[in-house]
Amino acid sequence: MRRFDWRVAIGVAIIGIICLLWLLATGILIWSTLDETGRDAVAATLRPSLELLILMWAISLGAVGIALRWLVAYFMTAPARLAEDAQVLLGTDVKRQLKPSGSLENRSLTDLINQLVQQRETLREEMDALVQEAAHNTELEKNRLAALMSELSKSVVVCNLDGRILLYNNRARMQFHRLSQATKVAAGVELIGLGRSIYGVFNRKLLTHALENIQHRLQHNVASPSAQFVTTTQSGQLLRVQMAPVRAVQLENREPTQMMGFVLLTENITHEFEALSQQDHVLNTLTERSRAAIANMQVALDVLEYPDLEPAMQESLLGVLREETQGLGERIHELKSTTVNGFMSHWSLEDMLGADLVEAAINRINALEGLTATEFSVDTSVWLKVESFTLLEAITYLAEHVHQQCGVDTVQFRLSMTETHGQLDLCWTPLNHEKDTPLYCEKDPIRIGGEKSSLTIQDVVERHDGAFWYEHETEGNQAFFRFLVPLAKPQEQLDTSALMRKESRPEFYDFDLFQASEQTRSLEDCKLTELSYTVFDTETTGLDPSGGDEIIQIGAIRIVNGKLLHQETFEQLVDPRRSIPAITIPIHGIQPDMVKGQPVIEEVLPAFHAFVGDTVLVAHNAAFDMRCLQVKETATGVVFDQPVLDTLLLSAVVHPNQESHRLEEIAERFNINIHGRHTALGDAMATAEVFLQLIHLLAEQGIYTMGQARVAAQKTYYARLKY
């Protein structure tokens, strides 16, 4: 049914009244000009048609109403609708063409609006494309930076002015792992992490001093100020650190010298320093002892020149000479055997997997015409200290030399190790069986593809402090060149695989931390979205920590700047030094033999404490987990006094009408999948995801800060539970 339009009704009424009034006035005017006869005649004429007159008046009013209605629809309703439609287009992202209606003007206005909508859409699409491209470029740059960082051979750590780490590379991760005092616990993850404080590694005063130095130089407009220092870490390692400022982007209202943070390039020089100290010591001892020996000999010789020397004296002086000469010889021999390796560390030898060197050599040789190289027997566990470029040149030259001199077209590689050296053999089967032709080429300049190098094989071997010879096996038909090259130190090959997670690109940076500063506010006033958290869970032998139940696993993950850091997790099995009740095994899946040989709680808790650092602890039903940690305070001396939030209580704050606040139920409510329910890390990760959702829901209830969250949580019923 069509809507009754009051505007039309009022219009019709007004027109009707006006018509009536006009008729009356005209009638009265005419009436007053007529005489009595005329008036009677008019009255006699009109009286019988009065009803007809009123009917006509009503009909004409109806016609006016229809006309008015049409006019209103045409000139007023259509623009009003147009306005509403335009309002919708303005207020939302709806994309549609408006239907022209109403007057001509209204139609052309609709057309115009349609064109504007079209234009807006085009602009929006262009803008979207630009934003997308910019975002893509930014992402690319970030990836490039991350890739660059991960390839750098120096450790790089970038911090904001509070000392919070906002970027680090894999090298730093490995290096800091080695600095850890508890490397065997959870892979020593406690020292480095986004949002973590660098002062956990370096002395605060030392860094502050270096920062002040840089700031001072910045104020004096030094072009690229940096500070360098050497420091000893808590675990006794020696680090050379170079600090450079991260300057604020120059804006009109900002001083260009303002610092936003700093970059630390660190190098572990413990080995280098030890080697240098040893060399220094050896050189000093040698000098001093030789001086003393020569002095003894010289004085003895001077005395021997006296003509009237008694035979006994003469004999004892000769004895001195013999003894000192022998002593000198022994010292030089000793020096050669013990320390020359140390001196060689000055050469730029790099650690390389022997198999990689062999592979590179094979590729090079196969690129030569008429010659094929293959592996014969390669020990893949051998790590060598080599200058790979020159060594590869030498090997390739030798292969070519053998090809030309002996006519062989296939060579093979053998790699093994002795106690002190790696043994790399370039083997071939000589064609000429009749005569064993030794190949002398040690002093030949290395020549490859007609290009002559200034190096000889001997030079290359000397650079490696190695040895080289040609040999023809008496049994068997193989001939070979053998290189002895130094082995790389075993500890220098570890960790790479353990620390490099194979998953997606690591979350090693968070530049938003440049803006963060917690110094000015107390923790209670800090926003929940800005704090750093360690979300953790423990698996235990039972539910009564005070009655002797022990922790058997701790898992934890960090949240920094509202992001879950999947790269920064803590997962450690613990030897409970008691039996694990069979009834609990189906729950946590930890068999007794899994905890055998694992570190005990006294070793794990200090490392976990360091991992937690100054973050806020979060757990589901935290009262239980905290109780587990607290009963160990006396035994371990580690006190967890960090602030604690409980997702169980917070869930009760957000959903007071729900019956269950078990982790599974909450996860289901938030559509979160739990991977590895009832493993400590799996539960910790699920709790962390739940916690991130809870932060949003708490904000809807006006709970933004740590203090507000704690007060709200304490009020809930569940807060009364005690373990």
């Binding site: 001093e288 003393a292 002095a295 003895a300």
Partner: protein, 123 residues
Amino acid sequence: MSETILIADDEKNILISLEFLMKREGYVVVVAHDGQEAIDAISKEHPDLVLLDVMMPKKTGFDVCQEVRANPDLKDTLILMLTAKGRDTDIAKGLAMGANGYVIKPFSTRELAQKVRDMLDQA
């Protein structure tokens, strides 16, 4: 009366020759084989000059030097350090500890004898 010289060195190989040489030069010679022996001998014999090795067991030549200079009875004893330690810093330390001279091994016996003579004459 001829002057007394104490030779303190743990190397018997140099003691034999130096003892012979100094006796030939006309001095009365006393020998010591380590730092403590040297101090005892200095207190007992009051030598006019000590040829003192630096690296000795029990007490180093630097320690001996310091103790002698700290003792009012002995502080005028002339000390000539004989040492294989040739770094500038060691020489500076020896002189700072109170040595009157410093001879780096190896040395020429003629020059050593001359140096001892000069020091005794100047005293």
